[in-house]
């Protein structure tokens, strides 16, 4: 459980914040996550989206060592993450769904717990957050509002000073005002400390404005992973007459045929893609793009979309 630790993440280098190889988790015969390959850059705000039951929580709990994988490995800043290894635990801070706290504990008790259970612990940071929120240290967790509870859970996670912050559906139970406050705290930490953030949601719109890397998960498989800007600019929607021409268009992700015309989503590779003049080309929004990938047929019959090595870092 001891050993050399990099206290600061290697932000400038090539080391990914999070890597998974062939990661999989089965519950009995049910595959919650299957053949998951990810390489996510340091310093990015990564949105993990997918419908309920897609395997988002499973993936996040594998990343935080709450679950043991049935196959494959997880590495966070090159430290293998396993339930039995403290080195991996120290690299990841986690705010679970519904922001659990010990109901009978005061805020001071939570800080003391954090100090006792972590080798690195930034009590000042958490205390500053509590002061900004106007929360006295002797307040018990059960007397906090939902939004306050989320903020306290976030402050505790940030005080852990781990280079990767994982948030599981952080906004789901919050009202719009609390959502904005929560996200502004997260983004401030990203700006100040170069934190890498991995957050899940089943609502794309929630994360669109803040995230710069997107991972789409459905049926326990990674369907899409890449920088948000690149993903948006590299996809085009083509509409045109229904002819055999459709077969000659490269990189078709998905196509729909009506009586007379066809609509296709294509992924282009070149800088300025050129299509047959019969086709009208337009760009696609992030939300529609995610939906298009989610509506693809069951991936069991197809090879999964893997992150391509040519994809560049975000921003």
């Amino acid at each position: 459980m001891s050993g050399p630790l990099s206290i600061e993440p290697n932000l400038g280098g090539d080391a990914p914040a999070l890597e998974t190889e062939r990661l999989g988790k089965r519950y009995g015969k049910v595959r919650a996550l299957h053949d998951c390959w990810l390489s996510l850059p340091a310093g990015a705000v990564i949105a993990l989206v997918g419908p309920n039951g897609a395997g988002k929580s499973t993936l996040l709990q594998l990343v935080t060592a709450l679950l043991e994988p049935t196959e494959g490995v997880v590495r966070v800043f090159d430290a293998p993450v396993r339930a039995g290894a403290a080195a991996g635990l120290e690299q990841v801070a986690f705010v679970a769904q519904d922001h659990p706290l010990y109901r009978g504990f005061t805020l001071a008790d939570h800080l003391e717990m954090g100090r006792r259970l972590n080798r690195r612990w930034d009590r000042t940071l958490a205390e500053r957050r509590f002061a900004e929120l106007d929360l006295p240290l002797r307040r018990r967790a059960k007397d906090l509002s939902g939004g306050q509870q989320a903020q306290v859970a976030l402050a505790l996670a940030l005080a852990k000073r781990a280079p990767l912050l994982v948030l599981d559906e952080p906004l789901a139970s919050l009202d719009p005002l609390a959502r904005r406050e929560f996200m502004s705290t997260v983004m401030a930490a990203v700006a100040e400390d170069g934190l890498t953030v991995l957050m899940s949601s089943h609502v794309v719109a929630e994360l669109e404005r803040v995230s710069d890397w997107l991972v789409v998960l459905s049926h326990g498989r990674v369907r899409l992973s890449g920088p948000v800007d690149d993903l948006v600019s590299s996809h085009r929607v083509l509409t045109g007459p229904r002819t055999e021409l459709a077969a000659s268009v490269p990189g078709v992700v998905r196509q729909e045929h009506a009586d007379r015309h066809s609509t296709m989503l294509v992924r282009t590779t070149g800088e300025r893609p050129e299509f047959h003049p019969a086709w009208q080309s337009r760009s696609i929004g992030l939300e529609d793009l995610v939906l298009a990938y989610l509506e693809l047929p069951d991936p069991a019959s197809q090879p999964p979309a893997q992150p391509s090595p040519t994809e560049t870092s975000p921003r």
Partner: protein, 317 residues
Amino acid sequence: MIWLTWRQHRVQALSAIGLLILAGVFLGLHGQSLHDEYRQHVAGCLATDDTSPACSMTVRSYFDKVARAERLITWVNVIPGLIGAVVGATLLAPEYENGTWRLAWTQGVTRTRWLVTKAALLVAATLVFTGAMAWLFTWYREPMDKVVVDGRFAAQAFDTEGLSFPVYTLFALSLGALVGLLIRRTVTAIVITVAVFLAVRLPAESYLRPHYQNPVTRTGSPLTPLTDKRHHWILSDGWLDATGRRLSHDEYRRIANAYPDRTGFAEYLQSHGLRWWETYHPATRFWHFQLTEAALYTSLSAILLAATTLRLRRRAL
């Protein structure tokens, strides 16, 4: 971890200390009067087998006092199950029920270390508390055990004196921890812990304990009554006929009822060739039985705690 364990279990710890003080004061005062009365009045009558009316009165009233004391301290039998439910079952179940396991096990300490440290501290505290209680009961019951037929083998004595009391509690605690991990709902875990604890503990007492060693059987003439009968654990007794066959209760009653009056009854039985028999564990076996019982429940507890640790390490969900 030590701080966290204290913070999460301090109410239970302080309650235990409070209970210990209360029991100490109450049993201390009442026990002192039981000891005094036994030493000053009862011991003499029993030692000389004095059958004078004064002695009979003394012994009889002391018997009544002991019977009342027995009833008064029956409540101590709930302590092991109670600790199993309140401390054992609440070790893991509430963490799952409130979702705090995701907070606790994503700190810098592995969940195996989290569990092992907590369990070790709780086991240690439980053994200290129950050990002190058992010592108190042993002292309190000392004069009582001298006037009860089975002595320290009587269930009430055996279950609260020596090692039994701490090891029952250890077993209940370990059981509660595993049940809490498997069930994950506090109230259900508490109910199941108590039910399984009783389902093991009570049949073990009735059906297992008599067989820790082979009992001794002896026979004797009706004219030589038992003199060292006190404090042995009598499992069964009865009468043999002249051929050495054990008589049923009805057969014995038929012979006994045929005799008109009480005087010379022993000679009458003797003339029918009857002999008494009894199967028992000698009083000297007390510690052997205590150690056997302790080994049994300690092994069970070790298995339960190991299973809890392995299960928690393998999967949290």
